[in-house]
Symmetry: C2
Subunit: 244 residues, 2 copies
């Protein structure tokens, strides 16, 4: 399983992904699910992925291959908008589905994949897209400034309670990590390390890229104090007086 | 959608279910998902249900019909153990699947249903079962003293953090209601009223059966203070110092 989150805040964008993949419980590995395409002062495009790993790695390779494409070809390095970047990712996903889909189907293997594509291309505002398994996509808005992939339910309530576009980046990063804690606590197939990326608005370069591993002091403190705080709030709430 | 929870504590059992059903967003109704079979000083058996409403109502009707069955027939009123009660429910589900399943399949309608069966029959300890859509079932243990049905993920973390078999009933009821709050906040197809039932250990009679409706003072207080408490704990946690 996978858990990925991306937020489009007023101050910039935060991307986060876990890195546990499994093909059965006896085949668990660590693969990053975050891919960054950065050309400083021109564009930063981040792709997060969930689903069939061969499919999503194939998509990223197609995007990379396009770098060496014939002149005039639309690639992740020359698209003029994030909308075009999302279209490119959707097209790459469809290409992979055409190529490998029928073979996976023969073995009854799920070939589906979902991706998040976000970032900023010079001359345009930051934009965030969720590309569905069918290759079509939706864009985040001010009302819903975030997308999740994979095991999304456990970590959604805290995002809904805390995050809006006005949330400062430090607070949003804290919220994202708590969202990961809730998810990892309930689904052992989501695991460390967490890849976290901060893209400040209009900077057109990665502000921070960090890998949070087992024993990370800030994350460890956060997990412990969040759990303790929840139990304290729970204890302080009055019991029902109608139940003896 | 549905949300149901049942706990088997040292002190007794708590059952809770929402009552919103929908067949499409334009067909939303209120149906109880809790059915109680009580013969004082002999047995209390509670059935919670999720899934296809016609199926689960059919199961309950079969259990009731058995009341008028020929002498010697095993019914919910004469089974000598909760294990037999769970078998009976599983058999009723299979009977309904045989009868209606093929017709629903023709229209591509999901005929599946899951049920929780719990309670106490005189001469036996309290027991709790989860009957799967296939009619087979598992039993709750001291390590996992609760079962959920339906939209279970949003409300699971607080149960995992708080509930063990030693939890007093008032605290457990509070936890169950917070679990419902988290679920209803994230899934609008889970809704009030909540049916809540308390069965004290070895009492062989319902201790309390309560319907929690919109505006219920305790539940309203709980929702508001829990949300406020979560935000306070969140605010008190230090922000990451590595993100400027």
């Amino acid at each position: 399983m996978t858990y990925c989150v991306a937020l489009r805040l007023d101050a910039g964008m935060i991307f986060a992904s876990d890195s546990r993949t499994n093909a059965g419980v006896d085949h668990v590995s660590t693969f990053t699910k975050m891919r960054v395409f950065e050309r400083k002062d021109d564009r930063v495009i981040v792709v997060l992925s969930s689903g069939n790993l061969a499919m999503t790695q194939g998509v990223v390779n197609l995007l990379d291959r396009h770098q060496h494409a014939a002149e005039g070809t639309r690639t992740i390095w020359n698209v003029e908008s994030m909308y075009d970047a999302a279209t490119l990712v959707g097209d790459a996903l469809r290409e992979m589905q055409r190529k490998d889909g029928p073979y996976l189907l023969q073995s009854n293997i799920d070939a589906s994949a979902n991706l998040i594509v976000g970032g900023q291309v010079r001359g345009e505002a930051m934009r965030l897209f969720h590309v569905y398994a069918q290759g079509n996509f939706i864009e985040a808005t001010d009302e819903t400034p975030y997308f999740q992939l994979g095991e999304s339910k456990y970590g959604k309530p805290i995002l809904d309670r805390v995050v809006s576009t006005a949330t400062p980046q430090k607070e949003a990063a804290k919220c994202v990590l708590i969202s990961f804690d809730s998810t990892m606590k309930s689904n052992i197939s989501v695991g460390l390390p967490i890849d976290l990326l901060w893209l400040p608005r209009d900077s057109l370069r990665v502000g921070l890229q960090q890998r949070i591993r087992e024993g990370d002091p800030y994350f460890t403190m956060l997990r412990s104090r969040w759990g303790g705080g929840l139990r304290r709030v729970f204890q302080e709430l009055p019991d029902p007086d109608w139940l003896e």
